[in-house]
């Protein structure tokens, strides 16, 4: 076994919100070597809890919420501000996690913890304050119903310290909306899989952290040398300026040109009005500043302000590509100001923009196709691009009112109430699809289908690579690419770093293995680390199998098998036979059986 001389505080903080008991669990080298950190630690903690309590309602007190930072979170290297929020998802009732950027994970580490595991339910709405080794649960009934922005500001004021890091839920989390997010630094979200509802179910309005400790680094000189070389390379990259100016908003033009931009509930994948919501429009009239996660030179966050019109005064950090596409083209909204407004409302109320954009789009299409009646919509129609009504529905979702009360249940709840929407809600395992159409690139269909949390892009974003260089690939290459992405991207989440320098600026994977080795003071190769990532992925699968997931849950949304009818990829469709072959090959390559069961079981 390797001895790790840095990288870890070797402590996991356990908090029981019911009685307020806290304890720290020491972790040893074997634990570290097996699970690495971040998402790896989260999976292990949820695994143990599942064995201890058996499957429970994700919103029950026994359900566990994990916040885990990685061994590289907060280390002097590009884009090290990531941490994972994980739990059994109330949306999919399977494993769920979401990665958050900003500085929350860094602060958690500086308080001396690698991870935080929370069970129980506080008697009153409270915030959990982790002040280095002093942990308190503070009732805060006055914050009930407050938005994320106000909550964060009020807690900072109350503590008289502007430097604390706050991860809070909005009214949607309190109301257990199945796609509620956890928000930090006003608009950095752990957006997907409804972790905000899990926090709400425990009566936790916010987790507040403050720490002062040194992050343990075994070979500091080596870290400085490797990282400064990395910063230098990134600064010299041709695309760096573009990323700093537009961030992910540059992807709108890319997606439209490639024919993967979700438009009108993914019926189209190309939009003639895409210029109204692209990065150039943002730069010309809305952007007032950059934001960045900890240690990141790319500063992909855009702060935007609406200066005139009906949404004047709306200021928001965002949108990035997903939000712009899901609240813009996918809803037929052709005003950037309205997209900003929608983004702002989602951040403030605390709901995921991807899920929200999908469900409202399904509502609009359902009404258009007479699958829903006017009564289902409370007597008020909603059509493509109707921004006033869309904003109203966003608020109704968070407040669980009117039609929003149904949408708030997420795809699974919506389909129970309105099974006729089955063919038009784009989801996998109950999680709505991210803003990349996958019909032109079947590897992406496989990535969505097999993703452990549901149809989320950042588990394996293969669409760009396949469309750019692999249109003649066979199923072998496609399947391998998906598996490689699922492992390397898991590894980023386990380290607590962002994948953007790698995927967007061509930064080499080996850099991370080299850096991790310097931080822990032990030689690790990328292959070593990928093997650990694969093990964690198998564990997630075993958790899902125990919770009832089967082969039937590994298929992309129904619409994937219907051809695109316009745009650059017109006529493209995912071939069902090809998909079946890919899926069988995927299971085989992973060493899972024909039904997708991994070699390990969660017992």
């Amino acid at each position: 076994m390797k001895k790790h001389n840095g990288g870890y505080f070797r402590k996991i903080l356990h908090v029981d919100m019911t009685g307020g008991a806290t304890r720290t669990e020491a972790i040893d080298d074997e634990f570290i070597e097996t699970y690495v950190g971040g998402r790896g630690f989260a999976v292990k903690l949820l695994w143990d809890n599942l064995i201890k309590n058996g499957p429970t309602d994700p919103l029950a007190p026994e359900s566990m919420l994990v916040v885990a930072a990685g061994p590289l979170t907060g280390v002097y290297l590009p884009s090290s501000g990531k941490n994972s929020f994980a739990s059994i998802s109330p949306a999919t009732r399977l494993f769920g996690d979401s990665s958050m950027g900003g500085g929350f994970g860094v602060e958690l580490r500086q308080a001396g913890y690698d991870a935080l595991a929370i069970v129980g339910k506080a008697p009153d709405l409270s915030y959990l304050f982790i002040d280095d080794d002093v942990v308190t649960i503070v009732p805060c009934p006055e914050l009930k119903g407050k938005g994320n922005l106000e909550t964060e500001g009020r807690i900072r004021d109350r503590l008289g310290d502007h430097g604390v890091r706050v991860a809070s839920i909005g009214v949607a989390g309190e109301n257990l909306v199945r796609f509620a997010c956890v928000t930090s630094e006003w608009s950095r979200n752990a957006g997907r899989t409804g972790i905000g509802a899990v926090m709400g179910s425990k009566n936790i309005k916010a987790i507040v952290v403050r720490g002062h400790q040194d992050l343990p680094v075994a070979e500091i000189d080596k870290v400085i040398e490797i990282s400064e070389q990395a910063y230098k390379e990134l600064a010299a990259h041709d695309m760096m300026g573009h990323w700093q100016r537009q961030g992910l908003m540059g992807v709108v033009d890319y997606a439209n040109a490639m024919g993967i931009l979700p438009t009108h509930n993914f019926r189209d994948t190309h939009w003639e009005k895409s210029k109204s919501i692209n990065g150039k429009t943002m730069l010309a009239s809305y952007k007032i500043g950059n934001t960045a996660c900890f240690g990141c030179p790319m500063c992909c966050g855009n702060i935007n302000l609406v200066k005139e019109g009906k949404w004047a005064g709306t200021v928001t950090e965002g949108p990035e590509y997903e939000s712009a596409a899901m609240l813009g083209s996918n809803l037929g909204v052709d005003s950037f100001a309205s997209v900003l407004r929608g983004n702002h409302l989602c951040d403030e109320l605390g709901i995921d923009t991807i899920s929200t954009g999908n469900l409202i789009a399904a509502l609009i299409e359902g009404y258009e196709k007479d699958l829903l009646t006017l009564d289902d919509l409370d007597g008020k129609p909603v059509i493509w691009g109707d921004d006033d009504r869309i904003m109203e529905i966003i608020e109704q979702i968070a407040e669980c009112r009117c039609v929003g009360a149904t949408l708030a249940l997420g795809t699974k709840g919506v389909l129970e109430r309105w099974p006729q929407l089955g063919p038009i809600v784009l989801h996998v395992k109950g999680l709505e699809q991210s803003a990349y159409d996958c019909r032109g690139a079947s590897s992406m269909a496989l990535a969505y289908g097999t993703s452990d949390i549901g149809a989320h892009h950042s588990r394996a974003w293969t669409v760009g690579k396949e469309l750019e260089m692999g249109t003649d690939w066979g199923i072998n290459e496609k399947t391998e690419l998906v598996i490689y992405h699922q492992h390397i991207r898991s590894l980023f989440d386990m380290f607590g770093v962002c994948r953007l320098p790698w995927i967007e600026l061509g930064f080499h994977e080996d850099f991370y293995a080299e850096l991790y080795s310097a931080v822990v003071g032990q030689e690790y190769s990328l292959e070593d680390l990928l093997a650990r990532s694969q093990h964690v992925y198998d564990m997630t699968r075993a958790i899902n199998v125990k919770l009832g997931a089967a082969k039937g849950d590994d298929y992309p949304p129904a619409r994937t098998f219907i051809p695109i009818h316009s745009g650059p990829l017109a006529g493209k469709v995912c071939n069902r036979d090809e998909y079946e072959q890919m899926l069988a090959l995927y299971y085989k390559k992973r060493g899972w059986d024909e039904q997708g069961k991994p070699p390990i079981t969660c017992d």
Binding site: G74, V75, Y76, G103, V106, Q110, L149, H162, G163, E185, W186, G211, H212, Q213, D214, L215, P216, V217, I220, V223, I224, E228, Y231, L234, A235, Q244, I288, G289, N290, T291, A292, C293, F294, G295, C296, P297, M298, C299, G301, I303, L305, V315, E317
Partner: protein, 187 residues
């Protein structure tokens, strides 16, 4: 020629690379809370991100507040004599910019000394957006002067086409100014 650190808050993204570069080079430790420069982010009222760092003031409030005379100036840089510092933190309270910092592991306050006056400070070197600059004192205020000039309200504007694209040119019209002078003179 004296140089100083200046910050351009409009360009700051809040990434805190400056904090890390400072702590890691000066303390040899991976801890942004041991930095001599810190980014303060306020949002959304107002929206601003600003690195806060010592201005090397000519009449330094920290220096006059120090009861132990531990703060002195050397080549224009305000420094702390560690042996004399009693750790009372009066200087931290006295600094009107909050540009001195305390960390429980370190007895003496953390204060920027321009990387011991050894050339380009690390925070300036590592800032990815150009929000921290190091320049001669006599250049200070130039950004504000430039903003002031650019927002000169009597500026004229014409639109024209270049390579088929519409462009705009702004200029201060000399003739218009003379006409204005004449009119005012006649009055």
């Amino acid at each position: 020629m004296r140089r100083k650190i200046a910050v351009v808050p409009e360009k700051c993204s809040g990434c805190r690379i400056c904090e890390m570069a400072c702590a890691i080079h000066r303390q040899r430790i991976n801890n942004p809370k041991k930095a001599r420069i810190r980014v303060t982010t306020i949002y959304p009222h107002p929206v601003v991100r600003m690195p806060v760092v010592c201005n090397q003031c000519k009449d330094a409030k920290c220096m006059s507040a120090c009861p132990a005379d531990a703060i002195y100036r050397q080549n224009g840089v305000v420094k702390i004599r560690h042996d004399d510092c009693m750790g009372c933190h009066a200087c931290v309270e006295a600094c009107p910019f909050g540009a001195m910092y305390i960390h429980p592991d370190i007895d003496v306050p953390l204060k920027c000394d321009l990387c011991e006056d050894s050339g380009l400070p690390q925070c300036v070197k590592m800032c990815p957006t150009g929000a921290i600059v190091f320049m001669p004192e006599h250049v200070f205020g130039q950004a504000h002067r430039l903003n002031n000039v650019l927002s000169y309200t009597h500026m004229k504007e014409i639109e024209y086409m270049e390579h088929g694209k519409p462009k705009r040119l702004h200029y201060a019209d000399n003739n218009a100014a003379e006409r204005r002078d004449r009119t005012e003179g006649e009055r």
